[in-house]
Structures are given as C-alpha cells and as structure tokens.
C-alpha cells in the first residue's frame, strides 16, 4: 500500500484534466506510474490528487503529418512506440530504443511523456529526442506553449513544466539521414548514452547538419558542439577522422557527474566509444542510402 490515500480522477479531455488540477495546487498528472508510484512509495513525492490521463482520447496517437513532422502522443507507452509502423519506418532507432527501455513490464505501461517529465538523467528517450530536435506541446490553464527538449530538462529531476501543465504531444521533423543511438548500462538505466542525427543533402552524400547529444553523463542531455560543427558539410567518407580529431576536446567541455555508474574519466570514455560506434553505423547507413 502507498503511504496515504488520494483523490483519483479520470478526465476524458485535456481541458477537463487541466481543470481537474484546479486550485488544489497539489495534484499530479498520472499515466503509467512507473516513476511516480515508486517515488510515492519512497515518500519523496506526496500528492492529494492523481489525475489519470489514460482516458483522454488522442493522447496515444502517432502520426506523420502533412508538414513532414512526426507526432507522438505523450501517453504512448514504450511498447506502443516500439511496435508502431510509422516509427519503425521513419525512425527505426527510436523504435529500437523504446523496445529496450528498462524491462518488459515497464514498457507495457510506462509512457514517453512521463519519462520526459520525470527528468531522470539516466534515461533513454530524452537523449534521442533532444538529438531529433523534438518540441514538446505543454497545455495548461493559461494556454499552450512549445518547448524544445533541450530547454525542457533543466537539471536532475527538474523540468520547466509547470505543475498544472500537461505534456500532450512530442513533435520532431522526419529525419532525412541516419539516426543512431547507443547506451552502456549495467541494470535498468543507461550509465551513459549517445544519440546522433544527421541531416543529409538530396544526394544523401553530404551532411548538411548534425545533432549529437550525450545523456546520463551530466544532469541532462548535452550537445557535443565540437563534433556537430566538425560534421557540417562533410561527405560521409570524411566523418571518422573528423570526429576523432575533435572528440577529446569536445568531451572535455561537457559536465560530468561522477556517480555510481562511474568516475568522470570512465564515463567520458564510454561516451567516446558509443559515439564512434554510432558514427560507424551512420557511415554504413549513409553509403547505402
């Protein structure tokens, strides 16, 4: 049993969910509970009211829009994203990532929106969503706003979401080049992870821009600016030496939290290995594209 009872509401629309939050100031949106219920058991989070968003139609929708954006409803479970035909076709690396989050039970009920809103640094999805330049739709009593994933997570377990704002949709442009993701882990959560997204020119031979994010190294996914700059305008054949030339300096600039996953040098080493393996995979994909 959890420490204390709470009110439990099941709104069927986003408007009702935000309204249910009301004036109490102590309500929380709730879906899979894979993070929230653990925190409540540990008595580090207390709430008088859970607002269950699972009855809201449309929050589990996945679609490719006319504007060539991919939209993922915030309460899509990891399993749903892993199995979704749109994601498998256009972002297979995200499908694969979601098929490997935590364990099969977490994937059955845990949602991508909850994962983002919890702000856990040792998590899989935020790193790739930041590399994909995803925007998050937040709906609250005072209106709707769009926040980039890079700006959403402030620090460990801390985001810019106001308590009465509901994350409804995750949107990112359909990738035009290889998307790669790798992680190293011992248990349920990644010790370090790296995501890399290349935008390619029409001939699929030159990288027009690259986004690289390293997660779990510090308190939030961080851009590897030096590598991103080095990759811009390169042909695929030039990638590997270009990355190796700038990588040590780029990694030294990142914030590293020494934690039970390892010391700073070790975690940087993991990031280096993961990034180079991502690059090899993207190079192979680039040649065949």
């Amino acid at each position: 049993m959890l420490p204390s009872p709470f009110e439990f509401e099941r709104p069927s629309t986003i408007t009702d969910a935000v309204r249910a939050f009301g004036d109490s100031g102590d309500g929380m949106f709730y879906s899979g509970g894979t993070e929230l219920l653990l925190a409540m058991k540990l008595r580090v989070i207390h709430t008088d009211r859970l607002i269950d968003i699972k009855s809201i139609l449309g929050l589990d929708r996945i679609a490719l829009t006319d504007a060539n954006d991919i939209e993922i409803g915030a309460r899509c479970t990891h399993n749903k994203i892993a199995r979704d035909p749109v994601i498998r076709q256009y972002v297979p690396a995200l499908s694969s990532l979601c098929a490997n989050v935590a364990n099969i039970r977490v994937r059955s009920v845990g949602t991508i929106g909850g994962n983002l809103c919890f702000g856990e640094p040792h998590a899989d999805p935020p790193t790739m969503l930041a590399a994909l330049d995803a925007r998050l739709v937040l709906q609250g009593a005072s209106g709707t706003r769009l926040v980039h994933v890079d700006d959403f997570i402030k620090s460990e377990l801390e985001t810019v979401r106001e308590p009465d704002e509901l994350l409804t949709v995750i949107v990112f442009p359909r990738p035009t080049g290889p998307v790669t993701y790798r992680r190293f882990k011992h248990g349920e959560r990644p010790s370090v992870n790296v995501a890399m997204v290349w935008s390619m020119d029409a001939a699929a031979s030159t990288i027009t821009s690259a986004r690289v994010r390293v997660g779990a190294l510090g308190s939030r996914p961080q851009p590897l600016k030096g590598v991103e700059d080095a990759l811009r305008g390169l042909s695929v054949a030039e990638v590997r030496p270009a990355i190796e030339a700038v990588l040590p300096t780029a990694l030294d600039e990142l914030e590293v939290n020494e934690d039970r996953h390892g010391a700073a040098d070790y975690k940087r080493h993991l990031a280096r290995v993961l990034l180079l393996r991502n690059a090899d995979e993207a190079i192979a994909a680039g040649w065949s594209a």
Partner: protein
C-alpha cells in the same frame, strides 16, 4: 470520500466487484484481500519481476500498479494459468529442465513466459533473452530457465494450449 472507489475487473476469468482505497496496490489487493498468494513481492520497485501479472495479456508489475487502474480490465495471475489437475506446459518445462530452486521468482517467470509465447509462439534465443532480461533469479543462474523456455519455443502447439 472519493478516496475509496468501486472497481470491477476479471481475475483469472472470474468477475470481481470490490471497493478499494485509491492507494491500494494491485499486489496487495490480489494477495491480501482476494487471497491469491502465488504473486510474490520482492524488490517492490519494478526491477525483479517476481510480482508479474498480466493486464489484458501484457506483463506488468503488480507491486507498482494501482488497484483502481485495473477497473474494467482483465488480470491473470499464476493461479489463472495453472490447470486444476496439475501443471501447464510452461510449468512442466521449468520442472523438467530444473528451471527453479527456491521457487520465489518462478510465478513471475511463468507469467512473463506465458505472455512471451502468446505474442511469439516460437521465439529465437535472442527474443527469449530480451524478453526475460527483466526477471531476476538468484538460484538457477538463468541457464536452466533459458533451456526450459527454449524447449517450449521449439514445440508446435495449438493456439489455446499455452
């Protein structure tokens, strides 16, 4: 007054209607109020898999699920997959291959394997490892469990015999 809610759900095919406090966890409802003790609590943080039950056929951790969340849903526990006159083919395979010693993790493994074989009747070795990696066993070293599941993966059975 809204801290207790009426729920109706199917437990191993049997209709249950019961009032539950909102902070009741599914595992406590199943074990303490409904008396089915096959589902085990161990890590209590959704890591070990001992408390695995099926929610509409998908494996979940009953230790980290609110009882109010199973309203209008179907729950299957290890009692629900155990024939009255003996053991299921999955349970028999665990016995035959030595896939258990103390037995505490076994109900969770049986439920996970039930879900795996329902979705993928003939899983590859890689699929078995991937699916079961979130169920922990401190006795067997996993090899015997893996061999038990692999023996089932090779079997040809009718849809409903699992």
């Amino acid at each position: 007054m809204t801290h207790v809610l009426p729920i109706s759900f199917s437990l191993n095919g049997q209709a249950i209607a019961i009032d539950v406090p909102t902070h009741t966890l599914l595992i406590d409802l199943i074990r303490d109020r409904l008396g089915l003790k096959g589902t085990k609590r161990s890590c209590d943080m959704q890591v070990c898999g001992a408390c695995t039950v099926l929610l509409d056929g998908e494996p979940i951790s009953s230790c980290t699920t609110l009882a109010v969340d199973v309203d209008q849903r179907e729950i299957t526990t290890v009692e629900g997959v155990t024939p009255p006159d003996g053991l299921s083919r999955i349970q028999k395979a665990f016995v035959l291959h030595g896939g258990l010693q103390c037995g505490f993790c076994t109900p969770g493994f049986i439920m996970a394997v039930t879900a795996l074989l329902k979705a993928t009747p003939h899983p590859t070795d890689e699929q078995i490892r991937h699916y079961l990696h979130g169920n922990l066993c401190r006795c067997t070293g996993y090899t015997k469990i893996f061999e038990a599941v692999r023996s089932l993966a090779a079997e040809q059975v009718s849809e409903d015999a699992a």
